[in-house]
């Protein structure tokens, strides 16, 4: 199995598709850091504060960048890039015909699926957490370090050390969410020969779920929808710590990941390879 995994990694790092996500995120982070350094979209908040407070220091720093980056990427860039890779791992080989070549070797279909899924997981986790690390490093270079200040139902100030721990946990939670999204895309790819279909299906499920969760008629489904829990990381920064909610969110994400993987494995083991 280790051989299979090494081979899958070897193939993966040679595919240009793997680098689209990291490149895009790097450019995005750079743009946001430069933008925050040279303009201050939150100036109105500071002026409002200075009416009643003596304010010292800046809250536009690396921690601030990391926190606000999450708002913009959790439902857009990260799921898209996760699906682009996870939905391509099997479907592209089916489209190219190399899946035939693989399966004509003394290797079980389960080995193929497992090794590819592990690569998918590694990519998603690396992308999500790597984004956070890169944002903090770039934020430090451009904006400096300091406490994390949030304006949400009051003012929340987290000292730098606490902020770093919470941000790490937030990105880890987002990574778990993206793993679930990528797993859905992976599962769809096991019966398609077109990675675009897998990407589109997974993104469609994601956005459809986001719409459904807001409709009163489907409120009974809400606790079980993935999108309900994708932004659980907000609660790491404001409000009292609700361990039960976090555990539930993590459990839902893990269930989605495991169920998607299991479905993909079953489908792939049973399907006829006709491409």
């Amino acid at each position: 199995m280790l051989t299979d995994l090494r081979l899958e990694l070897r193939k993966a790092v040679r595919k240009s598709r793997m680098y689209i996500g990291p490149t895009a995120m790097s450019l995005l982070i750079l743009a946001v850091a430069v933008g925050l350094k040279h303009s201050n979209p939150f100036e109105y908040l500071r002026r409002r504060m200075e009416q009643d407070f003596i304010v010292t220091g800046s809250f536009i720093n690396a921690a601030f960048l990391c926190r606000h980056l999450l708002e913009g990427i959790t439902y857009t860039f990260l799921p898209l890039f996760a699906c682009m890779v996870c939905g391509d791992l099997i479907a592209s080989e089916a489209a190219d015909g190399t899946i035939r070549m693989l399966l004509c070797r003394p290797i079980t279909r389960a080995q193929v699926v497992i090794s590819k899924y592990v690569v998918a997981c590694m990519y998603v986790l690396a992308l999500s957490i790597g984004t956070g690390v890169l944002a903090y490093v770039m934020g430090t270079a451009f904006l400096g370090r300091g406490s994390l200040v949030l304006f949400s139902g009051g003012i929340w100030v987290l000292p730098e050390t606490t902020a770093i721990v919470r941000l790490a946990a937030a990105y880890a939670l987002v990574a778990a969410g993206m793993l679930a999204v990528g797993s859905i895309s992976f599962a769809v790819s096991t019966f398609l020969s077109n990675s675009n279909g897998a990407i589109g299906a997974a993104m469609g499920i994601l956005y459809g779920s986001a719409v459904i969760q807001e409709i009163e008629y489907f409120k009974v489904l809400k606790p079980y929808l993935l999108t309900t829990h994708l932004d659980i990381w907000h609660r790491l920064f404001v409000g009292p710590f609700d361990g039960h909610a976090f555990l539930k969110a993590i459990l839902v994400m893990l269930v989605y990941s495991a169920a998607s993987f299991a479905a993909g494995l079953i489908i792939f083991r049973r399907r006829d390879v006709l491409s």
Binding site: T3, L7, R14, L103, C104, P106, I107, T108, D272, L274
Partner: protein, 307 residues
């Protein structure tokens, strides 16, 4: 009796309402170069996919080297090399890297062997080029190379000469013969190039509409068809009419002063006498050698079965 290295027992596959393979039972023995023939859509590729585990049969069993392909896939494929339809490779990797990856999945082999195989198929000087720049013929040869990686006892080749130029085809034919004769590798190949199959294969199986309609040694199959004689006469129409009235003789064709008939050998002289007594001038009596293509076309048109 040689060992059976490839066997199908009542193999069947349906795709929705279409029966692609129907009750297929064939055997390939150690040392055979077995040609698997059939028109387009006959079920050849589906059979090969079932033999390699790509497609699950609805009924029946496929065995390679004694192992059931479905239940013991890893054991079945361990000493088998296969090309199923057009070989496919990772275009962003070089030829050598592709072979390295596939070899590791088959237990691994060192760089020297990879280079040796690349040399065998004439691609050693292109080993470091990315596959995306390869021509169809080069990809075909690389496909044969990957089939040879695991030092196989059995090689399954689906249209191995497809896309090759005449020299390439000749090289592949010679390679197949070398594999069979020198390295004692059993070869199971499907092809449309019947004259090639006739040159390299000792046994063939003909499939049509999913059913095996003929199987056996090439010479034996053709011997059945050796009772054809062509008369060269001055009036082929009258000759065909006269010969058509004879029992145990069948007129096959009549054109341009030549009449071909199928008849047991002992009746040819009587047929000749009948023509001469009928006032016809017989200038030549030539036994016709049917080739595999003729046999194939005949079988497919008849849809019959010959053993």
């Amino acid at each position: 009796m040689s060992e059976v290295v490839l066997e199908t027992i009542k193999l069947a596959k349906n795709f929705r309402t279409r029966r692609a393979v129907d009750d297929l039972s064939l055997r390939v023995y150690e040392g055979d170069v077995y040609g698997f023939l059939g028109p387009n859509g006959a079920g050849k590729s589906t059979t090969i996919r079932m033999l390699t585990g790509l497609v699950r049969p609805n009924r029946g069993t496929a065995r390679l080297l004694g192992f059931d392909v479905r239940t013991r896939h890893m054991d079945a494929m361990r000493n088998v090399g296969a090309i199923v339809e057009t070989p496919a490779f990772y275009k962003y990797l070089s030829a050598r890297e592709n072979l390295s990856i596939f070899s590791r999945l088959s237990g691994g082999c060192d760089r020297r062997r990879i280079d040796q195989i690349l040399d065998t198929v004439g691609l050693l000087d292109r080993a470091n080029d990315k596959v995306k720049v390869f021509s169809h013929g080069m990809i075909q040869r690389l496909g044969i190379a990957q089939a040879l990686l695991p030092n196989p006892k059995l090689v399954i080749l689906d249209e191995p000469t497809s896309g090759l130029d005449p020299q390439g085809m000749k090289d592949v034919r010679e390679l197949i013969l070398r594999l069979a004769n020198e390295e004692k590798i059993t070869v199971f190949l499907s092809s449309h190039m019947l004259h090639e199959v006739e040159q390299v294969c000792n046994r063939v199986g003909v499939i049509n509409r999913g059913k095996l309609i003929a199987e056996g040694e090439v010479k034996e199959l053709l011997r059945h068809e050796l009772d054809i004689v062509e008369f060269t006469v001055d009036d082929s129409t009258r000759a065909a009419d006269i010969l058509g009235r004879l029992d145990s003789l069948k007129v096959l064709s009549c054109e341009d002063g030549r009449v071909a008939v199928q008849s047991p050998a002992e009746l040819i002289s009587e047929a000749n006498r009948t023509l001469v007594m009928g006032g016809l001038a017989v200038s030549a009596i030539v036994p016709k050698m049917m080739n595999l293509e003729d046999l194939f076309l005949k079988l497919v048109q008849e849809g019959g079965r010959a053993d």
